[in-house]
Amino acid sequence: MTPPQHAYKNRIAWRAAQDLREGCYVNLGIGIPTLVSDYVAVDTEVIFQSENGILGVGPLATPEQVCVDLINASHQKITVVPGASYFDCAEAFLMLRGGHVDLALLGAYEVSVNGDLANWSLDQPGRANTVGGAMDIAAGARQIWALMQHCRDDGKPRLVEICRYPLTAAGVVRRIYTDLAVLEIVDGCFVVKESLESLSFEDLQQRTGAPFTFSPTWKPLITPF
């Protein structure tokens, strides 16, 4: 059997999902973060917010469940859980900017050692930029976790000293989940909390664009698939 394509994305999503606490209000960004809700234990009440005006986003809709007016911010047809509510976009962003959403899980092109986030523009001439809610969420959610591939497709690091791409927000990322490691940003430094046991310090350093330290509580990064 061939492994599913992009299994690393599911592993990143699974690992981040293990750190969601009951009662958390969470916004999931486009990309890897949308996979996170699949891996939250069914008996843990985590409330997902979608910036198009929904609290209590449930699993993706099956063909029988589809309601044309029920989509998430990634335009996927969804369901809602009992207790869900609908509201307009101004109220959705009141929740986000006003610090009422505990946690936003966002995709990222790059994150810098001081927590700068770049996830909205690849700065390509002639190509229109699109920003959506990225800047509002990055500026307003109480905590930002970045879920991303550790390196670019060409092997260059995405965790860097200074972002090359235009910033979405400065100094906002607290934690980073990648296919190789779980890191925290502490006082302008990457601190590795978990990493793949098969990777040596040198291996990880080669793939990371800034110095880092290992946490005293370092553990191997283990996922079930």
Binding site: S50, E51, N52, G53, I54, C67, V68, D69, L70, I71, A73, H75, Y86, F87, D88, C89, A90, A92, F93, L96, R97, D116, G126, R127, A128, N129, T130, V131, G132, G133, A134, M135, D136, I137, A139, G140, P166, L167, T168, A169, A170, G171
Partner: protein, 219 residues
């Protein structure tokens, strides 16, 4: 007797002049006033400025107005998205002006327009290129950027049900921009799936009060 219902979408938008500024509701497919957009295309008004979340997808609605060169400028948050082929082609050859606004700022600018406010300070975009050239201000130790209100000549919104006073209720994620854009224009026109007798919509359930709506038409 107050009756805001007009016979059809074409009559509802008949007085839109060339050069008008138009707000258009919708986030993805839900909440898009399709009949009003089709009527606007047939009506022929051009040199329009649109205020919307996206620049349209496929070849209908906003995308059709763009394709027919009716739109001079678009103020939106998410112009490039899967299916935005018409916009991308116009943009690549410099045939449309874009003002890119983060969606939370876009909503709040529209809300400020409807609410009679002169603008507001937001933390969104601080430290990014979208804040360049804007007034910054430190308030209680945090930096904010000044954003200006948005108003329009017409708001085209989509709701689920209306009564003859223009009270509105919405359907799920079809709400998104409707309640925000209602009242932010000189004339707010609501396209709805159903018009019910006055009194049938419970006062506790009405989302947009009729004072913010000028015309209602069936979609």
């Amino acid at each position: 007797m107050i009756n805001k219902q007009v016979s059809d979408a074409a009559s509802a938008i008949a007085d839109v002049p060339h050069g008008a500024t138009m707000m258009v509701s919708g986030f993805g497919e839900p909440g898009v006033p399709k009949a009003l957009l089709t009527a606007l295309l047939e009506h022929g008004a051009s040199d329009l400025t649109l205020i919307a979340n996206t620049a349209g997808t496929g070849f209908t609605g906003i995308a059709a107005l763009l394709q027919e060169n009716r739109v001079r400028k678009i103020i939106c948050s998410y112009p490039r998205c899967p299916g935005s082929v018409v916009f991308e082609e116009l943009y690549a050859r410099g045939a449309i002006e874009v003002e890119l606004v983060p969606i939370g700022t876009l909503c709040e600018r529209i809300r400020a327009g409807a609410a009679g406010l002169g603008g507001f300070y937001t933390p969104t975009t601080v430290g990014t290129r979208l804040a360049q050239g804007k007034e910054h201000r430190d308030i209680n130790g945090k930096t904010y950027v000044l954003e200006m209100p948005l108003k329009a000549d017409f708001s085209l919104i989509k709701a689920n049900k209306a009564d003859r006073w223009g009270n509105l209720v919405y359907s799920a994620a079809g709400r998104s921009f409707g309640p925000v854009m209602a009242g932010a224009a000189t004339v707010t026109i609501a396209e709805v799936d159903d018009i019910v007798p006055l009194g049938e919509l419970h006062p506790e359930h009405i989302v947009t009060p009729g004072i913010l709506v000028n015309r209602v038409t069936l979609g």
